[in-house]
């Protein structure tokens, strides 16, 4: 197949399978895996042996992802996470490797190969887990943070593992393969201390370059005004670091992660992020497709019980270890469950490690193929496990969805249900409370839920957009529903659902921007609050004041503006025309802004305070026409 043929096959598989998988609530990763399996040698057969090459190529997506993870992570955050990274992460890798290696050994695999298998299978999938947490909006929870720490440790631990495997390999094989691997680096011929020194120098170089070299270089490139040059520079940066790391025998993923952390505090953080993001997304997608295509379904079909047992044993062992660790490191039951159910799959690094171990002769026979299939299947199981945990386990264990009722307390029905108790919902809830009014709160941050319950709030834990939870919270009898979630698309979706199922509810919804507001208005919500509008207009009023405008005038100007703007949103919502007219969201935004600015200009009444304006009165007085009407008015 030519390059274009291949690209066509991969892209069309992705474009078909991923949206379908998302629609079914399975997550994009599973979608890619299914797409891969579909075009793989055992289904449609579009992809053959070259799938392996694609896999190696696409591994670079993982490198890019770690660069982005690093960018999101300022050094201070990293330092704050050092205990969970080293403690929790170290314990996870050690215990999982011991458990799985032990299991392999008990099954009769020789100890050194068993250790390699244990270490390989201890890895979890950074790509799947981080994406799943992000998709579900759980990244900031205790479970999300702990999982992140563990994944980070694993990514770092790959490096010593790659160094360890050649030592485990039987002499006759290991020597040659490991040396070949090693000779490809610049440092292979150096003595051990020299290699260590080279590694340290390389790391120092990355840090120093990130600090002192990259920012000025990017600034110079940005000044050319050529957008694609910036993208090229960003890619060059990532690829360059990856190459350097390979040459000194370190993991490229670790190197780019480090560079990301260093650049996290630079002013180009967001530029870099948005430039690398699409490449990362595509490459990771490609990676998962390749993984899907490389699943040996012939083997699975020939020995289904063996492979299924392998997957089940693997998941169960990791799950138990993770659960114990979660509890041991002080996570609440539900957070520990979430943590354990997020990480039991084996990660993408396992494919790298398995390939390496096979080349070294550590593993042989059908074991590598069986393990590869098991790894891929365990990845595929992740979204299902997540779903099972969320729907079946969490409602029963840990932070309950319904507030525990005290026997003697009257179970008061509140008139207000607040969905989402983050920054926005909090203010609403606190204001109500200050006025002595209660509200029923829905939130999916279990730590916050526990706290609120201690303080006497009636709180339901869980995904507020679920209909059954709304029912449990008494939405059918409430008067008002406050939608204060920080995910605009979910607010819109929830508003539609709530209007359909609880027509008596008056809905007050938080919107991110005008586009959101339009959608909410379209959905029939009349009370729409754009989250930054009031604050930005207060700031605008202060700008006016600092320019010397009198306080009352400035404040009235801002409020008048707010009123007119609200009105214009309402007027323009139905006038937006066919959304298909716009070929992009950005285009639509710009046209919307144009209309808004146009309208502002056509509003001469934006400050109509003529009652305080003595201009016409003065003219009248000077003409001598200011007289009282006849007594009693003319009607007489």
């Amino acid at each position: 197949m030519t390059f274009l043929d291949q690209a066509f096959v991969y892209l069309s598989a992705a474009v078909v399978a991923v949206p379908v998988a998302r629609r079914l609530g399975l997550g994009s990763v599973l979608g890619y895996l299914i797409a891969g399996a579909a075009i793989g040698p055992y289904a449609l057969g579009f992809v053959g042996a070259e799938g392996q090459d694609v896999l190696h190529f696409a591994e670079f997506g993982v490198v890019m992802m770690l660069f982005l993870v690093g960018l999101e992570l300022e050094p201070a955050t990293l330092w704050r996470l050092r205990t969970p990274i080293l403690g929790l992460g170290g314990a996870q890798v050690a215990l999982c490797a011991a458990a799985l290696g032990g299991l392999a050994w008990l099954l009769g695999i020789e100890p050194r190969a068993a250790l390699a298998i244990g270490l390989t299978l201890a890895m979890s999938s950074t790509a799947i887990v981080l994406q799943s947490f992000a998709e579900k909006g759980l990244s900031k929870t205790a479970a999300g943070q702990s999982a992140f720490a563990v994944l980070l440790f694993q990514d770092i631990a790959v490096i010593p593992m790659l160094a360890l495997f050649p030592l485990l390999a039987p002499r006759q094989h290991g020597g040659s393969a490991a040396e070949a691997e090693h000779a490809a680096t610049w440092v292979g011929h150096l003595p051990a201390w020299g290699q260590t020194l080279a590694v340290l120098v390389a790391v120092a170089a990355v840090v120093a370059a990130g600090r002192f070299l990259v920012a000025p270089a990017l600034r110079a490139i940005a000044r050319t005004g050529l957008r694609e040059m910036f993208t090229a520079a960003a890619l060059l940066l990532v690829i360059g670091i990856a190459l350097l790391m390979q040459k000194v025998g370190l993991s490229p993923a670790l190197g780019t992660f480090l560079a990301g952390v260093v650049l996290a505090t630079s002013e180009y953080r967001h530029e870099l992020e948005s430039d690398i993001e699409p490449f990362k997304g595509l490459l990771l997608g490609l990676f998962f497709i390749a993984v899907g295509a490389s699943i040996d379904f012939a083997l699975v079909a020939a020995r289904p019980a063996f492979v299924a047992g392998l997957v089940a044993a693997l998941l169960l062992a990791k799950l138990l270890v993770l659960l114990a660790l979660g509890r041991g490191f002080g996570l609440a039951t539900d957070q520990a469950l979430l943590f354990a159910f997020a990480l039991p799959q084996v990660g993408e690094f396992a494919f790298v490690l398995l390939a390496f171990a096979t080349r070294l002769g550590l593993l042989s026979g059908e074991l590598p193929a069986a393990l590869s299939a098991a790894v891929a299947l365990s990845m595929a199981a992740t979204p299902l496990l997540f779903l099972a945990c969320e729907r079946l386990l969490l409602p029963r264990l840990g932070t309950r969805e319904s507030a525990p009722r005290e026997a003697d307390a009257v179970d008061e029905e509140h008139a207000v249900v607040i969905a989402g108790f983050g920054r926005f919902g909090q203010s609403v809830g606190r204001l109500l409370r200050a006025q002595g009014l209660g509200a029923t709160v829905l939130d999916n941050d279990s730590d916050r839920v526990e706290l609120l319950r201690r303080l006497g709030f009636k709180v339901f834990y869980g995904d507020a957009s679920r209909l059954d939870l709304l029912h449990a919270a008494g939405a059918a009898r409430a008067k008002l529903l406050v939608l204060a979630l920080d995910a605009p698309e979910r607010v819109v979706e929830m508003a539609r659902e709530a209007r359909r199922h609880f027509p008596q509810l008056t809905i007050l919804a938080r919107a991110e921007d005008r586009e959101d507001a339009y959608q909410l208005l379209d959905a029939g919500v009349t009370h729409v609050y754009r989250e930054t509008l009031d604050a930005s207009l207060r700031m605008g009023a202060d700008v006016l004041r600092l320019l010397g405008v009198r306080a009352y005038h400035a404040q009235r100007a801002a409020r008048t503006f707010l009123r007119h703007d609200e009105e214009s949103v309402r007027r323009m919502a139905p006038l937006r025309g066919d959304r298909a007219e716009y070929w992009s969201y950005a285009r639509e935004r710009i046209e919307d802004l144009e209309r808004v600015l146009q309208r502002d200009r056509e509003q001469p009444e934006l400050s109509r305070d003529a009652g305080w304006d003595a201009e016409s009165l003065r003219e009248d007085a000077n003409r001598g026409t200011l007289t009282a009407p006849p007594a009693g008015g003319e009607a007489r």
């Binding site: 009235r556 409020r559 109509r608 305070d609 003529a610 009652g611 200011l626 009282a628 009407p629 003319e634």
Partner: protein, 199 residues
């Protein structure tokens, strides 16, 4: 049938004992009830809408408590902004010509206190002089105020009686049974209702 606009202004209705029952009566009486503090909590009076509302009515009733011998602040803001020069008064300012203008007021002190020798030295009608003159400058006819005196000492029966009386007055205004000449001259509209309202 006269079109009666009731401009209601009370900044703390939840604390009110007398104005609230009066307002309830007014709301049910078929007049246009316009709650100013509810419409403009931030004092940003919508001038255009208010002017249109005035044009649509024949009788304006301002119902409010009496704080420091004056209506609450929003009424003043409303007057300042809505009664524009060239619209309500001055050249071309004829919008309110011939309309009737009346205040419905509650005071804590008794009627005896609102007298030359009393604690407050002026009658309510006298204290309303700036408003009377405002109405006059706009060409509207200022009627004597409807005053419920001594609200501090009013019991439930007294409040109910005042509310009944108020309801009757609003009905008479709608049904054009008010003797405007008598109403304009009185000190207090409800001092002797039979003198002002035809049965």
């Amino acid at each position: 049938m006269a079109r009666v606009l009731l401009l209601f202004a009370h900044p703390a209705l939840e604390k009110s004992r007398v104005n609230r029952p009066l307002a309830e009566v007014a709301r049910a009486s078929g007049v246009t009830f316009h709650d100013l503090y509810e419409a403009y909590p931030d004092f940003d009076v919508d001038v255009g809408a208010e002017q249109q509302r005035l044009l649509d009515h024949d009788v304006l009733v301002f119902q409010h408590p009496f704080y420091w011998y004056q209506p609450p602040a929003l009424v003043k803001q409303w007057l300042d902004l809505v009664l524009e020069h060239g619209w309500a008064y001055g050249t071309g300012g004829t919008a309110l010509r011939g309309k009737r203008w009346l205040h419905a007021i509650t005071t804590g002190g008794r009627e005896a206190a609102y007298a030359r020798e009393g604690f407050n030295r002026f009658s309510v009608r006298e204290l309303l002089a700036p408003l009377e003159q405002t109405a006059r400058l706009c060409g509207a006819e200022f009627l004597a105020p409807f005053v419920v005196h001594g609200t501090h000492r009013l019991d439930a029966d007294g409040i109910a009686a005042a509310a009944r009386e108020y309801g009757a007055l609003l009905a008479a205004l709608r049904e054009e049974r008010v003797e405007f000449a008598a109403a304009a001259g009185a000190a207090r509209l409800n001092a002797d209702v039979s003198a002002v309202v035809r049965p």
